[in-house]
């Protein structure tokens, strides 16, 4: 009871992580978190697109109940006045704070990230977020473009920084503030990368020499894929470097070497993200809060890296809907450490290839819509009731069930439920 919550949600991150078995990626900090966590290897989003997925898992309702399939409605007005997970923690005595991209900005969160309902203080957005789609990528001709593949010299960027760097700084500042404040907190940190544009500090390219990058194992449109199921990746086609390739609509394909460049930059952006997560978790140790803070790490959906001839999300394929999902729960998934001992020392992706294995890994199929009841149970709050079939008029209920029962406290392992032993 009374544990804090650090909720880390990453934009468009598929499980290309060491702790999920990916051999190419450098993600030592997330792997270190996994080594102290319950890790779910079959976790799925309810819709592979930002706003609908985020509103779904933050309200604990499915898209057919939030009635948000695009970006242009606010559930409290358009569907029902559903309580959100942060709102529930706020109503139960927590200071709730949002840094970066947690709700999708704009109409779907009432242009306010659902503040003040969900958050105790105004949500923080990095000042450099507004340049995200500007022409900041230097082409071979030295000119600036709005590219898909965009390794940058950070010192040349507006304010000489990037949004996720600013988000980490702000989250650390808030953690330092909570060190003295005895109130429980729910801090949500939303990272933008590896969402497009794949804009990251260019030094991360060194981790992924192009000769080591292959095409997807199945880079063709499957013969018997129904046309309606295919996602024509229109968003990346609008980027200057993709536009210049003059690729035919809807099936392309992109030239092989450019496909490898996209995959190379996605991996580089993941290692850049891993660095940010490492700095954030290192700060949790610094302020002495690692022993009483639950850490959740997940993403809003995945991303196709050329599989089935597709890129981006916008489909029902596993590569677009499957997400990393892990819970670090002090005393449950990892034993507490002595004062001063570190649980999450920062690991430099350039010198560390973790090789750490998850504390407990479950193959069980779970859903992001279960996050709300799961976190309520882990924090010792009353678990919201399961929704009735028609729940538009019900403010507090969830359409997912808690998955805590798959964590096994005694051995800190995630144990498969014995068939028939539901408790």
């Amino acid at each position: 009871d009374g544990m804090n919550v650090l909720f880390i949600v990453v934009d468009d991150l598929r499980p290309v992580l060491g702790c999920y078995g990916d051999r190419l990626v450098r993600s030592p900090n997330i792997d270190q978190l996994a080594s102290r966590s319950a890790v779910f290897s079959s976790a799925y989003a309810q819709q592979a697109i930002c706003a609908p997925s985020r509103v779904s898992f933050l309200t604990g309702r499915r898209p057919d109940t939030t009635r948000l399939y695009d970006f242009y409605s606010y559930w409290r007005v358009h569907a029902g006045n559903y309580s959100t997970m942060p709102q529930y923690f706020k109503e139960n005595g927590y200071v709730t704070m949002s840094v970066g991209k947690v709700f999708h900005p704009g109409v779907s969160s009432n242009y306010s990230d659902d503040y003040p309902y969900s958050w105790s203080i105004p949500p923080f957005h990095p000042s450099t977020e507004k340049y995200e789609n500007d022409k900041t990528c230097r082409g071979k001709d030295g000119k600036l473009y709005a590219n898909l593949v965009c390794p940058v010299d950070v010192t040349e960027m507006p304010s000489s920084t990037l949004p996720d760097i600013q988000s980490t700084e702000e989250a650390i500042r808030l953690l330092n503030g909570m060190k003295t404040n005895k109130q429980k907190f729910f801090l949500a940190v939303g990272y933008h990368k590896p969402h497009i544009p794949l804009r990251y500090p260019q030094e991360f390219l060194k981790l992924y020499p192009l000769e080591n990058i292959t095409l997807a194992p199945d880079p063709w449109v499957p013969a018997r894929l129904p046309a309606v199921a295919y996602n024509p990746w229109t968003d990346i086609r609008q980027r200057d470097d993709v536009k210049a390739l003059n690729v035919s609509f809807p099936y392309g394909p992109l030239p092989g070497d450019f496909q490898r460049q996209i995959r190379q930059s996605y991996y580089a952006a993941v290692s850049y993200l891993d660095m940010q997560v490492g700095l954030l978790l290192n700060a949790l140790d610094d302020v002495g809060l690692s022993n009483n803070t639950i850490v959740v790490f997940t993403a809003d959906h995945g991303w196709s890296l050329g599989e089935h001839g597709e890129w981006a999300k916008y489909s029902n394929f596993d590569v677009a809907t499957r997400v990393p999902l892990m819970f670090y729960v002090p005393g449950m998934t990892a034993s507490s450490v002595r004062q001063g001992e570190r649980l999450f020392p920062y690991l430099d992706p350039f010198s560390h290839n973790s090789g750490l294995v998850p504390q407990g890994k479950s193959e069980r199929v779970v859903e992001l819509v279960s996050l709300f009841p799961t976190l309520a149970e882990l924090a010792g709050l009353p678990v919201p009731p399961l929704c009735p079939k028609a729940s538009l008029h019900v403010a507090l209920c969830t359409e997912g069930t808690s998955i805590v029962r798959y964590f096994n406290a005694s051995r800190g392992k995630v144990e498969e439920e014995k068939d028939g032993c539901e408790d």
Partner: protein
């Protein structure tokens, strides 16, 4: 069917489309332009998807109006490249199940 159905926990996902064939707004159709909804049911063993008619005015899906289907068995097709939905035995079974 390859560990598909026997009491496994299920994850449900969905995706909207404006038309049966790809067009410029297929990735991100506005609510008013949604005509089809793809509902996916996945277990550890498989993924089954039906693309059915959808009415954006009353948010209703019509499971009698099936535009297309997908069925992938993870054991034999982990990358989901070989859609076996049209093998009628599966198709009928899953439509009933869904």
């Amino acid at each position: 069917t390859g560990g598909c159905v026997n009491g496994e926990p299920v994850a449900l996902s969905q995706y909207p489309r404006p038309a049966d064939t790809p067009q410029w707004n297929s990735d991100k159709p506005k609510l008013k332009d949604i005509r089809i909804m793809g509902y996916s049911m996945r277990t550890v063993g498989c993924r089954y998807t039906v693309w059915v008619g959808f009415n954006p005015n009353n948010f209703s899906a019509n499971f009698e109006d099936v535009h297309a289907g997908e069925l992938y068995v993870v054991e034999t097709d982990p990358n989901q490249d070989y859609n076996i939905y049209n093998n009628t035995a599966h198709g009928v079974l899953f439509q009933k199940l869904f």
